[in-house]
């Protein structure tokens, strides 16, 4: 197995992530997010998780991003929003968060360095959907149920929040 795809996908993912958080126009950011997710799918593939890679593409890059796109469309953003966004992204704003993020990065890196050296096999053996499926519906069936509950609550709450959106705020409070 070659390590070239992994490195390529990793570089793309990192660059795409940085592009996502620096875009002034949400749609651009979304596009970079798609790039990020796709390259992450590649990384997964390289790590021997084809099932996860597929899910990443289908659900994330597919369903979730579409959700985002719909919302951006409904928000009806324009030039003024972009200008305001630029204004919000003045260089000074970045200092504090950047320091914090760098600190976190450093801390995590040191943690990684402090891990004991890997004693496992050098070669990666792909883990197919079958193994995942057996695991899911074996010992982890309860968490599957939980996940389904979570999705259900997400659905219900999204529906509730989003319903009656034409009326004013007070209307929902009464509901």
């Amino acid at each position: 197995m070659s390590d070239l795809p992994f490195i390529l996908f990793s570089l793309v993912a990192a660059c795409a992530a940085i592009m996502v958080i620096t875009r002034a126009v949400p749609v651009h950011a979304l596009l970079y997010l798609v790039v990020l997710l796709l390259s992450l799918a590649g990384v997964f593939q390289a790590l021997g998780a084809p099932f996860a890679a597929m899910l990443e593409i289908i659900i994330y890059a597919g369903a979730v991003i579409v959700l985002f796109v719909f919302v951006v469309m409904m928000l009806n953003l324009g030039r003024t929003d972009r200008d305001r966004e630029r204004h919000w992204m003045a260089p000074g704003i970045w200092i504090g968060p950047a320091i914090l993020a760098c600190l976190l990065l450093a801390a995590l890196c040191i943690t990684l360095r402090a891990l004991p050296p890997t004693a496992g096999p050098d070669t990666l053996v792909p883990i197919g959907p079958q193994a995942v499926g057996i695991m899911l519906y074996g010992p982890y069936v309860l968490s599957v149920e939980l996940a389904s509950f979570l999705l259900l609550t997400g659905l219900v709450s999204a529906f509730h929040i989003g319903s009656n959106i034409r009326g004013t705020g007070t209307a929902t409070e009464e509901a």
């Binding site: 992530a17 990443e56 890997t118 997400g154």
Partner: protein, 103 residues
């Protein structure tokens, strides 16, 4: 040795997580903050996948599934809230005005 080692994948996850955090902290637009959170979730997912690869265990991908469903639910609810706020007269989606709980 192979470059696609779980350790390097973890390094990538770390970088992504820090980038996502940077986005959450620096951006005032709720939509962008939500996207940054997606990045962070993905970083966590990547860490799980890498760990699964390291130990040859399927649990990593199981956890990925969990994170996936969590991200989906979170995106759904978050976007609904954004829409709601927008509809209630907050067209700028400024997170810093979120402390005004009233619409």
């Amino acid at each position: 040795m192979s470059a696609a080692s779980p350790t390097q994948a973890l390094l990538l996850a770390t970088i992504l997580f820090a980038t996502g955090l940077l986005g959450v902290l620096a951006r005032r637009n709720l939509l962008l903050m939500l996207m940054s959170i997606e990045i962070m979730l993905n970083a966590a997912a990547l860490a799980f996948i890498a760990a699964g690869a390291r130990w040859h265990a399927a649990q990593g991908q199981v956890m990925f599934l969990m994170i996936l469903s969590l991200a989906a639910a979170e995106a759904a609810v978050g976007l609904a809230i954004i829409l709601r706020l927008h509809a209630a007269g907050r067209p700028t989606l400024d997170a810093d005005t979120g402390n005004r709980l009233k619409g």
